[in-house]
Symmetry: C2
Subunit: 168 residues, 2 copies
Amino acid sequence: MTEDARAAARERVIESMEQSAEVYGLSRSAGRIYGVLYFAARPRSIPELVEETGYAKSTVSNVTRTLTRIGLIHRRSSEGGGRRVRFEAEPEIWFVLQDVFRQYVQRELQATLRDVQRAEDRLPNDGSRERERIRRLTETYEDLQEIVQLASSYSASELREALESYEP
Amino acid sequence: MTEDARAAARERVIESMEQSAEVYGLSRSAGRIYGVLYFAARPRSIPELVEETGYAKSTVSNVTRTLTRIGLIHRRSSEGGGRRVRFEAEPEIWFVLQDVFRQYVQRELQATLRDVQRAEDRLPNDGSRERERIRRLTETYEDLQEIVQLASSYSASELREALESYEP
DNA sequence: CCGTTTGTTCGGTTCTACCCGAACAAGCGA
DNA sequence: TCGCTTGTTCGGGTAGAACCGAACAAACGG
């Protein structure tokens, strides 16, 4: 009976994770698989995830790979010596966000900043509109890069504290 | 000849914007149309954008609508009295990011926080794993919401300053 | 009032991503 | 060794998005 309540609460949160997943550019299956692992008391193998999510084995295999690459879940391969692979969820969402900032957002910002700076260098410093626009872009992207760099080096509570205590 | 250089630089940056666009979940056409408007000295109508981008009229119509909704470009409908609609780019990218934070990220965070808190309220405060996991989620999302809230209320340079001057 | 220009909407095509089932590879135990 | 379980990879079906052309709506100029 209280188990029913727990299952219902779990299911609600997992459905919310499914929705969040597609907002963040992942598939719904990724949201559900992460959710199941997030609440699981012990790591799960692929057949267990197939059983608990209803997805096909191949889907679970592919999704677990991408989730592992992102850092949302971890492979615990060595356990009991079997070939069996076990996955568990990374419980600290902020760690995952830090990784995403560093691995993807930073990289993307850096790439565009590089392109824009290259364009700026090739353009003679006339007072043209192109020059002025490109100049503004580089300034903005330099700010953004620094912001993301610093933000990803703090914990969530530190970051919150930094913003709350700031007086312009 | 210097016009060639300017056109080349413009084209480079616009191509970079195309790439960024699809990273941010928009289409390549959206990146190009924003880019053309970003460098344009005066607002452009839809036929002009068709001419300068090579996209079909219907595509330009649809893309300009979504870009307007996001706030990346603005409609200047009243001009010379004609039915002609004119678009111009929002040059301050940070303003757009602030809007996105407030309109989409905040809303998304709020929705999940609401779902999670609702699940938490329905669950009796036993020491169960579900309870503990859901508790951790709400704490993280409360932090995230506050962070995004504050970050979107500062200018880019203020935000950078806030992070640079913070001492844990 | 009619032709022209502008903008939106609709149906169709193409392309991509998700997911599935089936085949395959790899190890374990009898 | 053979069967059984686990995990990956491959081909295909399906749904959704991007883009196009054509039809339609709305306003202005003659």
